[in-house]
Amino acid sequence: MTTKHTIIAALAGLLTIGIVGDAAAERRTNDLAKDVAVRHRRLLVKNRFEFAPLFESTINADFQHIIGGGAKLEYHLSDMLSIGGVGVGSIALKTKLVDRILPTLEATPDPATREPSRTEFEDRLNTMPVHGAVYASLTPWYGKLAAFSQAFVAFDFYFQAGVAFAQLKSNCPMSVCNDVTTDKPEPNGDLPDMNPNNDPPLNSGGRAGLYLGGGVHVFLNDFLALDLTIRDYAFTDNPSGADFDAKDQAVTTNDNRFVHHLFFGAGLSIMLPMKVKRTP
């Protein structure tokens, strides 16, 4: 019995050494390896609403610059994930390309030529009075920067994806766009006129599509941030309202194609509540 008990006791001791040794080995690991990159960080977005009045303008538009103002409302579910929406009301300004083309066009329609008149070209161009998107946003990068070794500000980069919507509008009067049958035979049985310049542009109405965006918050303080964004509202459109595919010599719905509408946006984000929390 004595020997047996001694052996059991020795085994128990070895087991204890093993357990303690494992615990000790566990303590040797560096906890920083599993730690977050930044501790005691201001949670500038987590569980906060973001309301941002903003200005938006198209980038490199072909025929019409779309310039407008609106607002963004977003709720940040976590430090990296948020959901929100943006809506913008806009006006349209002709691009330099249009300004250069228009004076060279003929003043009145001439059936003998295949070129559009000034009104036929100008009135078919569409505008975008309202557009916006609902989206989910990911903020994978955050940091701080020093400018001129004087201003130290926090910033983050975010990427957005969602559904875009837009209301398109063109004002081609019936006196100009009077060929409602476009590529189909005329009501009196005549063949199509093969003239796309007098067809309705078919580039009005509501559109839905894909929204992609990316931007940066530059925090001015705990609750105000400069919000700079590049937004891409992609949906079917035919900005010129003219015959795009040149197959049928008529403007049809087939001339609408998936078009990327790139916008630059600048806004001032107000984070609510205004008081900011910190990570452990």
Partner: protein, 349 residues
């Protein structure tokens, strides 16, 4: 007898547990490298030739530096005094009495206390915040007196008729950590965009466009912004923003609307301005992305040009060319290679 046996068993268990607990702290010690040899390190060195401590064999006297082993190296070992080794005359003996005047009690007592300096009263407690803690870390990347070789690719951002792709390179020398001077060269490849065809097809107008062949510039860079960011709350990346301004030259070429007519080239004076973001990956490699605006006065094909008639030759067309101020805004991205490939800090951490 039985109770005695149990006591013996308990005693054995207590002894083994005691050993185990005694062994535990020893196991919990941090891992060490190979045990150094007694009195110094693993590598044997000639006496008086090496410093003590570390991995190198020290002479008698432990961590003290031997005579002749002077220099500016910081002694990291302990300060225990060993006998026998000669003392470096340049070394400061921290235990030596300071060379200061003897204290004079009478003189001290004669000093009138300034009651206005310290006022007794309640201790005012001010709330602490994280703003009270200042952490200054060294810049992770030094550029001063280093050369940057920056091959890059780029594309036009603001021309909806013709798009240029560029392959280019820049060689810049950093005079300081924030100022650099460099030279760049770009070669262009053009392609028409959708509106070029649309205007021709829908409006029956042939756009007048020029393509660019090459450009080169002398650039000056200034880096006013630097920062760091965390990716997915895990990895820290440092970055900076550099502003660039330069002056250079380039060549554009008219693309004739009628292919029967000859084109002509223009030599352009091209100042440029831009901003560039630089992300530091290693001591010798960075990823750069930026925007550059090349500004120049270009000459385009005249509107009135007829084969065999008005402005039919390149010289006539060039002399009657229409001019316009152009902003060619380009996005550029590339990787920078830094020489020398490493750097040393001149200040302590």
């Amino acid at each position: 007898m039985k109770p005695l046996q149990m006591r013996a068993f308990h005693r054995a268990v207590v002894v083994v547990l005691g050993l185990a607990l005694a062994a535990a702290p020893a196991l919990a010690q941090p891992k060490k490298g190979p045990a150094p040899a007694k009195g110094g390190g693993g590598k044997k060195a000639p006496a008086g030739d090496k410093k003590g401590g570390g991995d190198k064999k020290a002479p008698a006297g432990g961590d003290k530096k031997p005579a002749g082993g002077g220099g500016d190296e910081i002694e990291m070992g302990g300060d225990d005094k060993g006998g026998g080794a000669p003392v470096d005359p340049n070394e400061i003996d921290m235990s030596a009495p300071e060379d200061k005047p003897q204290a004079d009690l009478q003189q001290d007592l004669a000093i009138t206390p300034d009651v206005g300096v310290v006022k007794a009263g309640d201790i005012k407690r001010t709330p602490l915040s994280w703003k009270d803690i200042l952490v200054v870390v060294r810049k992770p990347f030094l550029k001063s007196h280093r050369t940057e070789l920056y091959p890059f690719l780029g594309t036009t951002m603001n021309d909806n008729m013709i798009r240029h792709y560029v392959a280019g390179g820049e060689l810049a020398y950093y005079l300081t950590d924030v100022l650099a001077v460099g030279v760049e060269g770009l070669f262009y490849q053009d392609s028409f965009r959708e509106p070029f065809d649309l205007v021709a097809r829908q409006a029956r107008r042939l756009p007048t466009v020029n393509k660019y062949n090459w450009s080169a510039a002398l650039d000056f860079h200034y880096v006013p912004v630097y920062g760091k960011f965390a990716i997915l709350d895990h990895r820290l990346v440092t970055w900076e923003v550099a502003f660039t301004a330069g002056i250079g030259a380039g060549q554009s070429e008219v693309i004739p609307r009628d292919t029967k007519l000859p084109g002509f080239t223009n030599l352009l004076i091209m100042p440029n301005a831009g901003a560039n973001m630089r992300f530091f990956l290693t001591k010798w490699l960075t990823i750069n992305a930026g925007i550059r605006d090349y500004i120049f006065y270009d000459k385009f094909e005249p509107t009135d040009r007829v084969v065999g008639g008005m402005n039919s030759t390149a010289e006539q067309a060039k002399s009657n060319a229409d001019g316009a101020l152009i902003n060619n805004v380009m996005f550029q991205i590339g990787a920078s290679f830094w020489l020398p490939t490493s750097f040393e800090y001149t200040t302590f951490r």
